[in-house]
């Protein structure tokens, strides 16, 4: 099992202002499947992604990643785990504007330990995989939204991360572009990765293998 949550709860703050964002969520993810996470605003989707991605420690419950229970690990150990296990894609890309597409991907590869010629070739290969081989030297401000998101996906794939987590990856993109990203994510899932996508986007529904619904921090599986 590459990624599983057991009875996970997450409480923000404490006392009067405490917010229970996740409430006893249990879930397992299967490699090769694109899983969608849907639900109303404020239902806890991003929170679930952060806990599953080891960015936040749960208030209760277990998080298992690549066979290890990590819910109590300290921050730097979690960072090292994320380095080998996870790729992230966000609604607003968050590419370093001063770096070219190639360099943005290369920095993630560098983080994962690649150096020299190997790093160079791998970065180009990743950009080709997302259909941007001819834009490697362009900077983010010279790319369209869809192209930027493709660079972000290429960066998330760096180091061959087995788990890909995406929060609203198509929300800022228009019709055809959003659909292109949806298909790309499905293709990457079917190559054998765990792919979990938080979305409101109906275009994503077509390509999903499994759809999870979150309401008030509780899971209602469907589809």
């Amino acid at each position: 099992m590459s990624l599983a949550l057991r009875e996970v709860s997450l409480v923000y703050g404490s006392g009067e202002t405490a917010v229970r964002a996740l409430d006893g969520v249990s879930l397992a993810f299967h490699p090769g499947e694109l899983t969608l996470l849907v639900g109303p605003s404020g239902s806890g989707k991003s929170s679930l992604l952060m806990v599953a991605g080891c960015l936040l420690r749960p208030s209760a419950g277990e998080v298992e990643v690549l066979g290890e229970r990590v819910q109590r690990w300290e921050q730097e150990a979690l960072a090292r785990l994320r380095r080998r296990a996870f790729g992230f894609v966000f609604q607003h890309y968050h590419l370093f504007p001063a770096l070219s597409a190639w360099e943005n991907v290369a920095m993630a590869l560098w983080l994962k330990g690649l150096r020299g010629e190997k790093l160079y070739r791998e970065a180009l290969a990743l950009l080709e995989q997302v259909g941007l081989g001819d834009r490697a030297r362009h900077r983010p401000d010279e790319l369209s939204g869809g192209q930027k998101q493709r660079v972000a996906v290429a960066r998330a794939l760096a180091g061959n991360a087995p788990i890909l987590l995406a929060d609203e990856p198509t929300a800022a993109l228009d019709g055809a572009t959003g659909h292109g990203i949806a298909e790309l994510l499905a293709r990457l899932a079917h190559q054998g990765r765990v792919v979990l996508v938080v979305t409101h986007d109906p275009r994503m529904l077509d390509v999903a293998d499994r759809i999870l619904r979150l309401e008030d921090g509780r899971l209602k599986e469907s589809g």
């Binding site: 991003s46 921050q75 960072a79 090292r80 994320r82 992230f88 504007p97 983080l111 998330a156």
Partner: protein, 380 residues
Amino acid sequence: MLRPAPGIVLLAWRNLASERLRFAATLTGVAFAVVLMGAQLGLLLAFARAASTLIDHADADLWVTQAGTRSVDIAAALDLGRRHLALAVPGVVAADPYMVQFAFWRRPDGGTESVIITGFDPASGRGGPWNLIAGELGQLLHPDSVIVDRLFLDKLGVDGLGAVAEINNRRARIVGITSGIRTFTQSPYVFTTHAQAQNYTLFSPEQTTYLLIKLAPEAEREAVRQALAARLAPARVWTREEFARQSQRYWLLTTGAGSALLLATLLGMVVGVVIVGQTLFAITVDRLKEYATWRALGASRGELMRVILTQALIAAGGGYLLGALAVLALAWIQREATAAIAVSPAMMGLLFLLTLAMCFAGALIALGRLIRLDVCEVFR
């Protein structure tokens, strides 16, 4: 354009270089701070050098002074008879008399300046002038002859060789001119023979102010120093280094010049810290979401901090390069001034260390912000 391989340096460099105006302003700011600090340190070095220049240029291993002497420029009378006592100490090959004494210089136009008469033994030449650019040392053997420095001709109201003035109401004729012999007190050194100096200053023939000791090559300096001190008490015996440090300390501390210059150096540093600090903070805050994404992808806190520190290093290196060139240029332009800034490898090294410290201090606020970085910011 620089093309570093992917890694911390690439990210740091691109973050800085992509904002050309801000980067240029930062480098200018750092360079400005370097010039401020460099000018103060350069003055400090020049003052220190001037305060001990007579000692540094006199070929003496040990200095015998009257008890209580605290600076080479302010000397008390010493009985010349002690010279023979000193020569009797094993290891001493020379004990030459040397006079340093304030006097009044009457300019040909009637004005008065204070000068420091410096009388050396023409037989050995020990303690004599250096960097002679006109005239001859041998001319000092003629009566009433003196040698002065080119830097002070104006102040002394004379225009060169052959000019005549008065020292303490006795005739003084310029027979030689040196170049670059500065004084801390701004009272010019006026070189003459020891006998002539006694005349000018109304010292008796049996008096001097210093004995300059030269040791045999095989003599053990500390042992001879102690033997001399025992034999010549209460006169004091210094190594040349001790006496040089003492003279520097005396002038830099008693006049407050040292602390004033150090304070100004510190102010220059503060300027730099503020400039570097605000730039690094601004470009870091602009990129928080990207840093958070990088953290999400597994960057350690140390790696994030190294990006900022590398940026500080780049600012320090670039700013130092510009600033140091300006300091060297300033020193060169001022080389003819009586109070020029001086440069030395050690001083430029210290300046670089101060620049580094300044830039790293400036990086602290940006570092503080990154340490508090919440990865979850990328989801908002």
